[in-house]
């Protein structure tokens, strides 16, 4: 087990290197960052000077190796735009994205899993049908459309929730939660729908197993069957799917963060790509990819841990 974890951790490194190389070349293709910072009206001298200052006059591979050297020492560089250390900007935004994902995860689990379980227990009942329809809508609905509808109903119509902006839940829990609720619903609906479907099919498979029939034959009450046998055994594929979804939502919250003006990592990446802010783009992409890869790794480990059959394969 430990060997497996170690091997997987090590295999992340070449992938991360590759990711950094790809993003480095992509960003270089986007155009001249110097012009973006200084505007188009400065003279050649200032342009050249700035270029030298930022180290952009050197060949690409030298730039890359220098950057790599700094990263290994923990220095992600300075942002072109904000004159702020990249690491600092990332750490500022990181909690926002984490909070968003935490609330989203909570919604996904609280709504998705029970819905799936109930659907499986009452197959082909109206409840099952309704849940299927709702989860279908949830998965197909484009999230920015859902966001607009939510804002229209809850902010403009009912004035219950703020249409945009972020409040730190640690400073003001209620306002913070309110500012995160709609974004989390936007992100979480599709996730909850996927989890509900997955839970449903997984629970159905478990219910068909012989040990459930044995439990029923022994006279075990339905409630105990559910708590003792059904839930734990259905959760294996569900947990792995949850892990995948977390990884995806870390980088995929871009649109949601944009609509609701949340100062998170997703928006940081997009804005720095558009502003051709090399160091920031490199830094944020590496962090996001690392989060993505780590969550995949955790999913694999969790899968091996939860299902002993995998371990002794």
């Amino acid at each position: 087990m430990k060997q497996y974890i170690l091997r997987r951790l090590l295999s992340i490194i070449p992938v991360l290197l590759l990711v950094s190389m790809i993003s480095f070349s992509l960003v270089l293709l986007t155009g001249d960052p110097v012009k973006a910072i200084l505007g188009s009206e400065t003279d050649l001298e200032t342009i050249e000077r700035t270029r030298q200052q930022l180290g952009l006059d050197q060949p690409i591979h030298i730039q890359y190796l220098k950057w790599l050297g700094r990263v290994l020492q923990g220095d992600l560089g300075y942002s072109f735009q904000n004159k702020q250390p990249v690491m600092e900007a990332i750490l500022q935004r990181f909690p926002v994205t984490v909070w968003l994902n935490v609330v989203t995860l909570a919604i996904t689990i609280i709504i998705g899993i029970p819905a799936g379980l109930i659907s499986a227990l009452k197959r082909n009942s109206p409840v099952d049908f309704l849940t299927s329809v709702i989860s279908l809508i949830g998965v197909t609905m484009p999230n920015f459309f859902l966001a607009i509808i939510l804002i229209y109903i809850f902010s403009i119509g009912l004035n219950w929730l703020p249409p945009s902006g972020y409040v730190d839940p640690l400073q003001d829990p209620i306002a913070g939660f309110k500012s995160l609720l709609m974004p989390a619903i936007t992100l979480g609906t599709a996730e909850a729908a996927s989890i509900a479907r997955m839970t449903r099919s997984s629970a159905q498979q478990v219910l068909a197993k012989p040990y459930i029939t044995t439990a029923k034959a022994k006279g075990l009450p339905q409630k105990l069957i559910i708590t003792r046998h059904l839930i734990k055994n259905s959760m294996i594929p569900v947990t792995t799917m949850l892990g995948m979804l977390i990884g995806i939502s870390f980088g995929g919250a871009v649109v949601t963060e944009t609509i609701f003006s949340l100062p998170g990592l997703g928006r940081l990446v997009v804005n720095s790509i558009l502003a051709r802010d090399f160091p920031m783009v490199q830094g944020t992409i590496i962090v996001l990819s690392l989060a993505f890869l780590l969550s995949n790794l955790i999913v694999d480990i969790l899968y091996a841990y939860l299902d002993p059959r995998i371990r002794y394969h």
Binding site: V15, T30, M141, F144, V281
Partner: protein, 303 residues
């Protein structure tokens, strides 16, 4: 056996009491299975409607998508404008209808492009193995470690904004998927006897890959392609929503939703129109893709 072989008939056990049963080809079985599913047929219906609307757009609506009638700005639904007008006085219904063209074009071409690049890569990677295989797969791993939307954004920013470049960017994000599936199928199918036979009579590698392997592994690839089309349409809308896909005044549902966000209080129909259109399009292709998957998957096992 990795995949069902194409076009072979299914053997039926005959006894003297059996009536002779009609022999069905795999294709016919797939079609029957598809037809039986109401969601699949509904999806097919929706997609066909979309295609017809896209082709006959000028016949369906008399306005032009860029025609601005300044004095009719921000109207709600009426007889003259079934879904109202937008902030520049353009008829929303017309823009939605012309938006179908962009959505379909992006969906189909980006997935098509991705297929044309990814599948040969996967074929070569799986067939040749060795260093080439490692190299290609490492690059694919690198590409797929990017959160997909971010990769699309970065690529579009690199190539320049616009609908066409967004198309290419989206295609790039799907290449690893096709390459991996193709490679997996090839690794499995290579062990079959007919491949060994082809090799032993000296067939060229490219001939083996494209004439023998490809037709036999194409089913899961087609299923994957159909599932990705709705994804691609959503991705294009997201990119346009962020301002880096289709540029105004081109009618894209993404840009329409983006502008509508600023006019929510004055005219919510600007959002409802394109949003519903996007929803129905994604729904249609999802149903179609699911139906294809259920119809094409292990046909023999179903029997």
């Amino acid at each position: 056996m990795c995949m069902n072989s194409n076009g072979s008939a299914i053997a039926v056990k005959k006894t003297f009491t059996d009536l002779p049963q009609k022999r069905l080809t795999n294709f016919q079985i797939s079609v029957n299975s598809f037809r039986k599913s109401p969601t699949a047929m509904f999806g097919l219906f929706l997609v066909l409607v979309l295609f017809i609307v896209a082709i006959t757009a000028p016949l369906v609506t008399k306005y032009s998508p860029t025609e601005m009638l300044a004095k009719d700005r921000l109207q709600g639904p009426s007889l003259k404008h079934p879904i109202g007008t937008d902030e520049l006085g353009r008829d929303t219904m017309t823009r939605i209808i012309y938006g179908v063209r962009l959505a379909l074009r992006t969906g189909l071409f980006s997935v098509g492009l991705s297929f044309l690049i990814g599948v040969p890569l996967g074929l070569i990677s799986g067939f040749r193995k060795g260093f080439l295989d490692d190299l290609i797969m490492r690059i694919m791993d690198g590409l797929s470690s990017f959160p997909p939307l971010i990769l699309a954004i970065a690529t579009t920013a690199a190539l320049g904004y616009g609908a066409n470049n967004a198309l290419i960017a989206i295609a790039i994000t799907y290449i690893p998927t096709f390459a991996r599936i193709a490679r997996g199928q090839v690794l499995c199918e290579q062990e079959e006897l007919y491949i060994e036979a082809a090799k032993s009579i000296g067939a060229r590698d490219s001939r083996i890959m494209f004439k023998h392997l490809l037709p036999n592994i194409v089913s899961p690839l087609i299923v994957q392609a159909s599932l990705l089309i709705s994804n691609a349409i959503l991705a294009e809308a997201s990119l346009s929503f962020l301002g880096i896909g289709a540029q105004p005044p081109a009618p894209s549902w993404g840009t329409m939703l983006k502008t509508s966000a600023g006019y929510m209080t004055r005219n919510i129909w600007m959002a409802i129109g394109p949003g519903t259109a996007l929803f129905l399009t994604v729904l249609g292709f999802n149903f179609l893709g699911d139906g294809l998957r259920d119809a094409l998957d292990p046909i023999l096992i179903k029997k």
